[in-house]
């Protein structure tokens, strides 16, 4: 099994398309930080404006942690697309390059091949999310320094002590990776249907955008369907910054996301197992 995973990983990381996500992040983050360096202080002041009338602010809340969090919020809508570039290619890529038959006539069972591909997609997903995290934090701290983090949450605003930030960020990226694994599983599902990678990438992304829009429309009817959309739970990573940590809410979201992941992979596995390679 390990050698199968290694083989799938080698295939994934040998493709140029795999590095589009890494490259894009490497370009976008410095650009975003350049923007923050010009207007970041005003941004913090604007977000905390009402408070500064009554409170004396000592020290700055504009630092590397703040910008890393802002970048995560801004980019997290686009990260699914970068995940789908690879996940959507998992099976469709085999069909495009004409290696489906060779792959499936080898001794390993279809289940093992499917599992190896799913594991390699998960590894790619986490590698991209952690690259985003490491790059944004390292560059942010280097350019803007260390300090307590100012954050806007659903229930108000919060300042998180610097000592807690390392593990909170690590936890948030773990949760973000898990949410992106569901996106990857959707890509794998779409990829198992067709024989061209473009379809799964565009199709999956269209579904995500549709779910995002439906989930955010402020009408009662759409509110009733929100619990059934996986995009409702993909911002679970933000809960890593709640105080105190709401483990029950995080656990519930993680389990629901896990349910969606199993559902998408289950359907994909069923399709893959029944795939007719003789026609």
């Amino acid at each position: 099994m390990l050698s199968l995973v290694r083989y799938e990983l080698a295939k994934t990381y040998r493709k140029l398309r795999t590095y589009i996500g890494f490259g894009l992040i490497s370009v976008l983050i410095p650009l975003a930080y350049w923007g923050f360096s010009v207007a970041g202080d005003d941004m913090v002041r604007g977000m905390s404006g009402g408070l500064q009338q009554n409170f004396l602010f000592v020290g700055s809340l504009f630092n590397g942690w703040f910008v890393s969090n802002m970048v995560m919020i801004a980019l997290f809508v686009h990260v699914p697309f970068l995940i789908l570039l690879v996940a959507g290619d998992v099976f469709a890529g085999e069909a495009t390059s004409g290696t489906y038959r060779i792959l499936l006539t080898r001794p390993p069972s279809r289940t093992r091949i499917f599992t190896a591909k799913a594991i390699s997609a998960v590894i790619y997903t986490y590698s991209l999310v952690f690259f985003l995290g490491l790059f944004s934090i390292a560059l942010g701290l280097l350019l803007f320094g260390h300090g307590d983090m100012f954050i806007v949450r659903d229930d108000g605003i919060a300042i998180i002590a610097r000592g807690e930030l390392w593990w909170r960020f690590l936890f948030s990226y773990l949760l973000a990776g898990w949410a992106m694994c569901v996106v990857a599983s959707l890509g794998i599902l779409f990829s198992s249907f067709v024989e061209n990678a473009i379809g799964p990438i565009v199709g999956s992304f269209a579904v995500i955008i549709l779910f995002f829009i439906l989930g955010n429309l402020p009408f009662e009817f759409f509110e009733s369907i929100r619990p059934f959309l996986f995009t409702t739970y993909t911002d679970v990573w933000r809960k890593a910054f709640s105080d105190p940590l709401d483990f029950s809410a995080i656990g519930r979201d993680v389990l629901i996301l896990g349910g969606f992941l199993l559902l998408f992979l289950g359907i994909a596995w069923t399709i893959f197992r029944r795939k007719d390679i003789l026609s």
Partner: protein, 235 residues
């Protein structure tokens, strides 16, 4: 005729009493200032805890420097947010030329009979427009202050004192209760039934630890830094 003369007579009799009350208020404030006048400068560590709906902040540490007449500088290794009108409280912020003073009876605060002095700003450029101070006239210290920090909000600060170096009465703790400035709601977010729970008050507690009094603080500590004195920075 007597209907006109009697009220007139009463009014005339009350005029000196009113003037006396004015004088008393001034004298009380002068006594409080004299108590603080023994302090030329000090440095103190502040531990602050803020409890406010819609705002979550960890306990904060800061160092405050004070130098006569009203120089104040607050520094922190990390970040700190401290209530503007109370952090560097000093009676010198109430200049008799800038406020009308009226004694408004007495009230017990911390089990001590205090004289209530009302201060009304004569100019609208002053940050503190109205305040009521509760003065322990025996020790000449302020034990409570009701004030309006602006935007229609009101606040109460309770002062606890320690005798520093057996000479100086300086605040060891200030507890503030104020109308919360946080009216936070994300765009599109619906108000849940329990969102309006609580009394809408913010509670801030500041402990003053380790006073170093009259050891001399160079002016450079206060130079090229944003003024933190709350006197004339009304927004």
């Amino acid at each position: 005729m007597s209907r006109i003369i009697l009220p007139l007579l009463i009014s005339l009799l009350m005029l000196p009493a009113f003037g006396h009350a004015q004088q008393d208020a001034g004298a009380i404030l002068d006594a409080v200032k004299a108590q603080y006048d023994k302090v030329n400068d000090y440095k103190v560590r502040i531990n602050a805890v803020i409890k406010m709906k819609g705002l979550s902040v960890p306990p904060m540490d800061a160092t405050m420097y004070f130098k006569k007449p009203d120089k104040i500088q607050v520094e922190s290794d990390g970040f700190a947010m401290l209530p503007r009108d109370a952090v560097g409280f000093h009676p010198a912020m109430f200049n008799k030329d800038e406020y009308d003073l009226v004694v408004q009876g007495t009230e017990r605060v911390q089990n001590i009979e205090c004289t209530k002095v009302k201060l009304l700003a004569r100019s609208d450029t002053l940050r503190l427009q109205r305040a009521m101070i509760y003065v322990d006239t025996k020790r000449a210290i302020i034990l409570r202050m009701d004030f309006d920090p602006g935007t229609g909000a009101s606040a109460t600060a309770d002062f606890s004192y320690g005798l520093v170096d057996n000479k100086y009465f300086l605040p060891s703790r200030i507890d503030i209760e104020m109308d919360s400035p946080m009216r936070w709601q994300r765009p599109g977010q619906k108000v849940k039934p329990d969102d309006n729970a609580g009394d809408g008050k913010a509670r801030i507690s500041m402990k003053y630890i380790g006073y170093v009094v009259n050891k001399g603080i160079p002016d450079s500590v206060f130079e090229n830094k944003a003024p933190t004195s709350p006197r004339r920075d009304k927004k």
